[in-house]
Amino acid sequence: MERKFYRWMLVPAFLFLTAFIYYPVLRGSVMAFQNYNLFDLNQLRFNGFDNFKAVLSDPHIRFAQILFNTAIWLFGSLFFQFVLGFGLALLLKKPFAGRGLYTAFVFYGWALSGFAIGLTWAWLFNGQFGLVNDMLIRIGLLSEPIGFLSNPNLAMISVIIPNIWYGVPFFGIMLLAALQSVPNELYEAATLDGAGSIRKFTSVTVPYVKPTIVSTILLRTMWIVNFPDIIYAMTNGGPVNRTNILATQMINKVFKEYDYGQGSAIGLIIMILLFAYAMLYLRMTEKKGGDTL
């Protein structure tokens, strides 16, 4: 009797998910196999894998380059976001004067829109008037300004930096919460056993925080791959396709070329890649198990 009642309680949540997540995903997946182009909707029909073929074999916008860019974007951003975020969390763990204010300032980046961040950093990296160039020249590392965003070899690094700045607060908050849940008795016991700080870190802190690390990395991976805002505002995928990731190409297809069919095809590719990644990732991190000392 009770069980049936609880099942009914799930209905609104299920309807909500269906309407706002499952239905659009289904619709988008269908569109990937149609020639859905706003330019002319009168000839709408299924066109098999044509959209995928067009995206994968575009002679001007090479797909291999886009995949490569996405990988660099993901791993470059993720690694530094995680390391710096973890470091931040460790530093903030112990109370100090002004900790609250400092925390607020550091986490401010997370509240901003990606597009706004991109526009601001585009000016910071500007080749004539940018602050970054100015500072590097003043401290003697450069003799004349460089065009960070116009150099194909520097552009990707230049867009990853704001992304790192943006993502550090997320890891900071989540890992700080996880760190604060580690019972102090364990540290005391470790000290009594003669463990130094590094040993304490690897044998007490990390295993305890492991589940949080696993889930935050998975989440951030999904979000970073689907985060075109900063790149869109700074370089729009250029120069010469070197900062174009799957998500920015999808935006170009949909908003500039009105080609929802090809855009959906790219969306489907992103979904499949992330799904495969998630499966692999969870399987790998599952084996080690969540230790509870």
Binding site: F5, V11, T235, F255
Partner: protein, 426 residues
């Protein structure tokens, strides 16, 4: 009843989730004021304020009508409007642009305005170019253009004087020479306000293709004998000259310059030449003293002509409107000679009535004199069209940007670039 509070909570959530289905809105009353919905897409705060002023003026003259202005943010506005039209929302007046008119007509979203224009007393006062723009698709007027965006050459006369130049460049060759001569990289002084990304082809095409003598006015990428415009020897030379200009008169960062960077370069004096539309005038006028800058007509190419693209935006009536006649009444009010001139004076672009150029000193003197010259000398300033109704057009911007950037960076040769463009348009 078990757990009454929980059941109540569940019911509320259910209603909340299902509420979008009821969000269609109520039907209008038969009596009382009629509300027209007007969607603009080239949204900017000052422009929206001006539109509101004109709306207030109209509502004062027509107490039975209310105009509801919808102003989505500029970057998403065209897409928002497309989605609104495709979901058959009831709209009455919409802003139609040169690159959206074909798409709207293809999807049967616009009303044919021929009859309305025939009976309009100001119909004859429209510039010939206005009617050409109005009938872009299928030779039928699906919109009434409100303004034109035509390129002009903004010049920092003070910077030119500093480097010993007192005359203005009349040809593109002179422009390039002056830009290169002014450039002194050590002093952070460059010559040309380059456009590297975001529809950069709109500027590079003028500078390159104006060297070709026989461009087809109905398709800038074709010559009158049907061959591809960039394949001619003159165009080939011009592409090489354009790359040379980038290398010698533009900071390397220029490849990534969009509108903001171009204007910034001009205002800061780093690049004293700027090819831009008239709506840039108000931005520049706010930042600089009138003695520091001017606008001259676009310099001509080796063909003795300049090929100018005319961007335009105007108002149309969606086919789903229930108040088409009233919508036309408002449109003809917004775009009548007097209101059009007022609007353009405040917002910047070029008005659409012949009488405005003849009678209004604002548009026939000062910096606007240059555009007046461009609009009234068709033998020298030739207006050409882009192949807007070719399904390959929407994707062209990204393709051209890639190949052009590659060319400017030296990873492709001029011949390879031209070949890939030719292959694209086949």
């Amino acid at each position: 009843m078990k757990h009454p509070m929980t059941i109540l909570l569940v019911l509320c959530t259910l209603l909340l989730v299902l509420s979008p289905a009821f969000a269609a809105g109520t039907k209008e009353e038969a009596s009382g004021p009629v509300t027209l919905t007007f969607v603009e897409t080239m949204t900017s705060p000052s422009r929206t304020a001006q539109i509101q002023e004109l709306i207030a003026k109209y509502e004062a003259q027509n107490p039975n009508v209310k105009i509801n202005l919808v102003s989505p943010p500029y970057e998403q506005a065209d897409n928002k409007l497309t989605l609104m039209l495709n979901s058959n929302q009831e709209l009455d007046i919409i802003e139609v642009r040169d690159h959206t008119v074909k798409q709207f007509v293809n999807n049967n979203k616009l009303v044919d305005l021929t009859d309305y224009l025939k009976t309009w007393d100001q119909g004859d006062d429209l510039l010939p170019l206005t009617m050409t723009a109005a009938t872009t698709v299928n030779n039928t007027p699906y919109l009434l253009p409100q303004f034109f965006f035509v390129k002009g050459l903004f010049v920092r006369t003070d910077i030119l004087a500093k480097h010993g130049f007192t005359t203005m460049p009349k040809t593109i060759e002179e422009l390039y020479k002056m830009s290169i001569a002014i450039t002194g990289k050590a002093a952070n002084q460059y010559g040309f306000g380059f456009r590297g990304k975001g529809s950069a082809f709109k500027i590079s095409d003028i500078l390159i293709l104006s060297d070709v003598d026989n461009i087809n006015v109905d398709n800038i990428y074709k010559t009158t004998d049907g061959s591809f415009a960039f394949s001619s020897p003159a165009a080939r030379k011009a592409v090489a000259a354009y790359v040379d200009l980038y290398k010698k008169a533009v900071p390397s960062d220029g490849i990534n310059w969009g509108f903001n960077e171009q204007v910034n370069g001009f205002i800061s004096g780093t690049t004293p030449f700027l090819v831009q539309d008239p709506d840039t005038v108000s931005m520049v006028a706010e930042a600089l003293d009138p003695s520091q800058w001017t606008v001259i007509p676009m310099p001509v190419g080796a063909s003795g002509k300049t090929y100018l693209d005319y961007g335009f935006a105007g108002l149309g009536i969606p086919s789903t409107s229930k108040h088409k006649d009233l919508a036309w009444d408002f449109i003809s009010f917004m775009v009548n000679a007097e209101n059009n001139a007022d609007f353009c004076r405040a917002y910047g672009p070029l008005p659409v009535h012949t009488s405005t150029y003849a009678n209004d000193p604002y548009f026939s003197s000062g910096v606007y004199k240059s555009w007046e010259i461009e609009m009234s000398n068709p033998a020298t300033y030739v207006f050409v069209k882009y192949p807007l109704d070719n399904p390959k057009y929407p994707a062209w911007a990204q393709v051209q940007e890639q190949t052009m950037q590659s060319l400017l960076l030296g990873s492709t040769t001029v011949d390879q670039a031209i070949k890939s463009w030719e292959d694209y348009w086949k």
